[in-house]
Amino acid sequence: MTDGEVVKKHRVLVVDENSMFSNGVQLLLVAQKTLEIIGTVPVDLSLISAEIERLHPDVLVLNEKMVSSQSNLIFSLLKNHPTLRVIALNLEGNQINIFDNRQVMVKSFSDLVSAITQPK
């Protein structure tokens, strides 16, 4: 990187269920220089949609459980915000789902960072 070159940070919105899992992952994400946590939003569909409209994040991170119970939300978010990447974390295993339909296995925290920063 040359002097004065600005590195674009990936703007991340986190759905915060206030659990030790989501709080822990948030702490790890905050420490990443390539990411900017632009906000957190509680598990509430209308609030999530409103925050995406307001903040225009690059990535939305949420719990997999929400995807299975609210799959319509994910489809409508991706439809209305084609540049948005939705990443669903799974409490039960080392698997994260990335909507645009990719799935990766996590061997280290850096795999989550890569999932967020990889071009779509």
């Binding site: 659990s19 899992f21 822990g24 790890l28 039960e92 080392n94 996590v106 280290s108």
Partner: protein, 221 residues
């Protein structure tokens, strides 16, 4: 509180490690992803508390805990699970676990419960406690009057039972503290918990309870 965190779920383990390490009274001594690693790191790092996932890729967290507690009987082991219906709850408690927590619990609850371990409290949610009480009631019904009922003891942690046995054998708080390598105030906390759980008024009643239940070494009576 010096903690070893054992879980093969990378994001969960590293995230919780960051959370706990940010607390002024908690230090993450190390992390392990397998049962073998958990045993090795326990021996190397000697944590006072281990947060242990119930299911590990190379074995059960409960069996690993049993091995650890054989070598280090004073260690606090708190199990972590995803499902509150987990049938292993009772097995975990039988093997001397000091707690059983859900991985999706609130951070503030986790911190409160871990801090409670220092006061001799079990790290267990109300829902889990309620399941234990239900199981206890079922056992009491089953046992009926055929045999002397020892079910009250199930309410006590392994360490509380140790304290009760020593008290019943005539040891003072100072003796007990020396034998179990804990402080006198911790012994007092354990005794308070014993009285409260068994609905007894004083140490003399606790000793009488232990005699009735056959907890005292007969040679010492």
């Amino acid at each position: 509180m010096n903690i070893l965190l054992v879980d093969d779920h990378v994001l969960f383990r590293e995230g919780v490690a960051s959370l706990l390490d940010a607390q002024p009274d908690m230090t993450i001594l190390g992390q392990a992803a397998t049962a073998a690693e958990a045993l090795a790191k326990t021996r190397e790092l000697l944590p006072d508390t281990i947060l242990m996932d119930i299911g590990l890729p190379d074995g059960s967290g409960i069996e690993t805990a049993r091995q650890i507690l054989n070598e280090f009987p004073g260690m606090n082991i708190v199990f972590l699970t995803v499902h509150e219906e987990d049938e292993r709850l009772f097995e975990a408690i039988r093997f001397g676990g000091k707690g059983y927590l859900l991985k999706n619990m609130r951070t503030s609850q986790l911190l409160d419960m871990l801090r409670g371990l220092d006061q001799g409290e079990a790290a267990i949610s109300r829902k889990m406690a309620s399941r234990i009480m239900d199981e206890f009631s079922r056992m009491r019904d089953k046992l009926d009057t055929q045999k002397p009922v020892k079910s009250e003891e199930i309410l006590l942690t392994t360490r509380e039972l140790d304290v009760l046995k020593l008290a019943a054998n005539g040891d003072t708080n100072q003796d007990i503290a020396g034998k179990l390598v804990i402080s006198i105030s911790t012994v007092k906390n354990h005794m308070r918990n014993i009285l409260s759980k068994l609905h007894l008024r004083n140490r003399r009643e606790a000793v009488a309870f232990a005699r009735r239940r056959g907890l005292i070494d007969p040679k010492k009576e």
